[in-house]
Symmetry: C2
Subunit: 224 residues, 2 copies
């Protein structure tokens, strides 16, 4: 039986790279990437393209969207370079300044529009809830609520669900799952701060490095 079509929101980070590896087992991939003028936009786009090439996804099943409203709206150190990125603090309890207001809803809305037109039945997103930075729009309860919005806001004959296959995993489990599935982790990019070598100091690097360490595996990318 031919596989059905699924969209994967592929930022190019480790989590979405592993999510792509999971999605490709059951679905034909359509990959979406959003440039929202985040600090490491060019490097993330490179990672997206490299991973898409790795999985042999043709051009008509890749969608790269450029938006500037999140940048213009501001409110996040991830897009506003006049604000400092928070230093890594994996025990932090409040929402860090790198939170981009309602970003995942913006991206999911775009993905649903595309899914409705190309006939994809699922949208995969590599959100991580527990072992994460604490963003409100990375929680399963948020995706459940968004699923209801999809059901009600699209044509009645359209059925699109959201898959969050790694949301309950710890970072080290994501690393192991990725290795198991042959995900090209060497092509992924997680650093929020720099585009040549990963900084190793931002939240995202700290989470990634801890994940590799706890998995007992060496991270294949280079750090400063």
């Amino acid at each position: 039986m031919e596989k059905q079509l699924a969209i994967v929101l592929l930022s190019g980070g480790m989590d979405s790279c592993v999510t792509t590896a999971i999605a490709t087992r059951t679905h034909t991939l359509a990959l979406m990437h959003v440039n929202y003028r985040q600090r490491t936009q060019a490097r993330e786009l490179q990672a997206f393209s490299d991973i898409a090439d790795y999985y042999g996804v043709p051009a008509d099943r890749r969608l790269v969207v450029d938006i500037d409203h999140l940048y213009r709206i501001g409110g996040s150190s991830l897009t506003d370079t006049s604000l400092d990125l928070p230093a890594a603090d994996l025990d932090r309890r409040e929402i860090p300044s790198s939170y981009v207001p309602f970003r995942n809803a913006n991206m999911l809305a775009m993905a649903v529009s595309w899914a409705e037109v190309i006939g994809a039945e699922k949208i995969f997103i590599g959100a991580v809830e527990e072992d994460s930075s604490g963003y409100p729009d990375c929680r399963q309860i948020f995706f459940d609520a968004f699923s209801r919005v999809i059901e009600l806001g699209t044509r009645p004959e359209t059925h699109i669900s959201i898959a969050t296959p790694i949301i309950r995993l710890k970072k080290y489990e994501i690393v192991r799952r990725g290795i198991e599935l042959g995900a090209p982790l060497n092509l992924s990019w997680s650093c929020y701060q720099s585009e040549s070598k990963a900084c190793g100091r931002c939240d995202s690097c700290a989470l990634r490095l801890r994940g590799f360490k706890e998995a007992g595996v060496e991270d294949p990318i280079e750090y400063e």
Copy 2:
């Protein structure tokens, strides 16, 4: 007491014009407009600016967002000029080809991002459910579901609700409400088809004209 801030999604059509007139009674206005490469984009932007000027809304409380992903994704005769717009059929039961997949979710997501940063407590949208074109994302049940997404997907201290003050009104009631409140209906633009004089033949013109007729009022804009 100083009024709280509300965002109005102002397309420049009659419905959002009247919604703006309703919102300004209770809130300080912040007006948002989205250019999504719809057929009459330039004319709608003009209507937005004219209405914003009429209400004296300063530049820092206007946000005009340009997006091209809905156009590139396609699937709608409102953005794809190779598809014919549906002729007016006010008894139609199926969803017309002018439906832009999941458009309102895309716009609401942007508005919520902005609301979170500027501290707006409400988002007004001039959706009309009953006397409308039958788009799934214009129904109250859709907005209720989206409200839940907002509650879960933003910072815990953020409380943003969606106001749909004209959703249950018939078009003629919207006309009357607008006149009562002094809404500048002469500055609004509803036509999907043309940008100089309104065509009078598309769904949107037909709904508007019937509304004025049933209200016993002459539409102040020019028709072909």
